[in-house]
Symmetry: C2
Subunit: 345 residues, 2 copies
Amino acid sequence: MFHELQATPSTVHWGYFDAGLKPALRIKSGDIIRAEAVTHQAGDAPELMMDDAVRLLYSSIPEDDRNPGVHLMTGPIYVEDAQSGDMLEVRYLQMLPRFRYGTNLAAHWGLLYKEMGEKERVTIYKIDPDYNTARALYAYNFPGKYTVPGKITKRGTCTCEPALNGVRVPVRPHLGTAGVAPDAMGRVSTVPPGAHGGNIDNWRIGAGATMYYPVAVPGALFSIGDPHISQGDGEISGTAIEASLNVIFQIVLRKDFHFPSPLLETPDTWIVHGFDDDLDVAMKNAAKDMLHLLVDKHNLSQDDAYSLMSISSDFGVTQVVDGRQGVHCKMQRGIFPPKDTDEEI
Amino acid sequence: MFHELQATPSTVHWGYFDAGLKPALRIKSGDIIRAEAVTHQAGDAPELMMDDAVRLLYSSIPEDDRNPGVHLMTGPIYVEDAQSGDMLEVRYLQMLPRFRYGTNLAAHWGLLYKEMGEKERVTIYKIDPDYNTARALYAYNFPGKYTVPGKITKRGTCTCEPALNGVRVPVRPHLGTAGVAPDAMGRVSTVPPGAHGGNIDNWRIGAGATMYYPVAVPGALFSIGDPHISQGDGEISGTAIEASLNVIFQIVLRKDFHFPSPLLETPDTWIVHGFDDDLDVAMKNAAKDMLHLLVDKHNLSQDDAYSLMSISSDFGVTQVVDGRQGVHCKMQRGIFPPKDTDEEI
C-alpha cells in the first residue's frame, strides 16, 4: 500500500523522539511511504527555503517546544506487529529536494569553532539540477548565537557576501536523522545518534540505500528529519548543506535476524556504525560490530573476519559534532563468494 | 637519469630512520629510481616470500640490530641540493609484487587483540594476477609472541588451517612506510608516522599517487619500506597484506612551496594526514591542515574553506595500530574551477 505523509503541525515533532507520541501514520510491513522531511534550518534563508506549509510548521510550533534536540522530525510511523527485538528494514527509494536551496551553518558546536574566532556563519547554496552539483550563493555572519532551532534570519539584518566563487560540490541527498523511538520515558534528544539510529549523519543514507534499525518499542515509531543535500564524512562545521527533501521509502518488518546497531546496506557495501563521545571508543565499537556482522551473517570464523577487516575494510569518521561521535566501517560486498541460496540477510 | 637501487645488506636499514646514515644512492631532482622494497614479514612464509637476495638480508642483519622500529627500509637516497624547508615530491609510477604471496599478521598491537583471546595469528594470501585480487591460502597461530621483526617461522612448527574460503580481496599495492630522515640525532623508530612521512599506512600511496614530504635534513635522505598489497583504512589487526614490491618513482625537489605535513595527491583528490596518540586530536590536526591547504593553495577564505570541508571533504581513519594514530582528510580536486595558469601546486 502507498501512503502520503505530509509535514503538518500534527505530523511533526521538533527536537525529540518519544515512545509516547501518537502515530502520524499506521502502516503494514511492505507498505511504501512518500514523506516530507523539512529542514530545521530553513530560517537561514526563509525567502528561498520556505513555502506556506513550511512557514506554518515554524509558526505553529513554539520555540520553547523545540527540544531537547534540534531536528524537525516527520512521524512517527507505527508499523503493525513490530516488537522490540525485530529489525526495521527501510529501503530508501527516492530523495528529491523540495527547493533548489540549502544552508550550511558553521556552528558553535563545530570542530574548529575556536580556530575560526568563535564566529557562527551561514553559507547559502543553490542546486544546479542539470549537473547534480551545488554552488554557494552568498554567506553571512550569524547575528548573535545560534541557540534556538529554526531561528528565522530577517532579510537586511545581515551583510551578505559572495562565497566560494566557481566551486561546485556534488549533491548527494540523504537523511541526517532517521530512526525508531528509543525505549525510554518522555523525550529523547534527536542530537546524539545511537542504537535507534537517529542523527547518524552518514551521507550514504540516500536513495538506493537500505537501513536496518533495531526496534525498541511496539510499532517501532519511525521518524525522519534533518534532510541534507551534501555532507562530508566528519561534518566538521557542525552541519551539512541542510535542505528539505521529499522522500519515498518502503518499510519491511524483519523478524528473522537481529543486529545490535544501525546497519546500512548499499548496492556495493555493508556499513556498520560505532558511536561514543570519544572517537577512539567509537572506532572500537564499529570494529566489534563489523566483526559481529561477518561472523554472524557471513559465517566467517572470528580469526578470518579479523584478518579480512584489516586488509579490506575502510573506517571513516562519520561525524564529530553530534556530542556522541561516529565511526563507520565499510566492507565491500563483492569480495564474498555468491551464496548458494536465495536468502537475503 | 634512471637509477637501480637493489635491496642489499649495504643499501638497507632495519627499524629506523637516521639522519647520520651514509646514502645508498645519490640523485638529482627529476631522476627516476627503481628500488626494491622488502617486507619485514617475509619470515611468516619463507618458502613463498623469500629468494636468495631476501634471505641474505635476513641472515646478514642481526636481530638485535633491527630497532627501535620494525620496518626493513631501502635507502636512504640523497637528493642533491635538498635543504630543510624544501618539499620532496615523490611521484610513484609503478609498484609490482616481487612474489605472488603476502602475509597478514593479527598482532599483539592490533585493535582487537584482547577480544581475540590475546592470540597472534598469521594468514598467508596469494595474488591472482589475472583478476588483481588476493585470496587466503592458509592460516596458523603464531608460536610465542611476535617481538622480533623478521622472525622466520619454520615449516612444521605450526598447524596450517584453511582460511576465508572463496573470499577475494582487491589488490592495491602501496608503501606502508616511506619518508625522509627526521632532524634528530641517531635512530628514529619507523613505527609512528609524522611530519617526515614514515609509517603513514595509507593504501592510496600507490602507483599513480604523488606524495609531498617536508625535507628536514640536507639531502632529504629518503627511504622506502613496509610494502603492502592490500590494506583497509584502520589496519586494525596491526598489519596489512605485507608483501615485497619493486617500486619505480621519480623524485622532484620543490623549493616553491611548503606544507607542514605529508601531503598526498591522486588523480582525483588531495589528502592531508593528521597524527596523534588520540584519534580525536589526529582528527583535529587533519582538519587544520586541510584548512591550511585550501587557504594557502586554493586561495579560499578561511570561512569558505571551513564550509566547503564540512559539506564535501571525507575524513577517514588511516590506522589505529602504529602508536601514533592517523586520520586523513580527502578533498575532491574536481570541485574547483580550472586555474587560469599552468602552474602546479
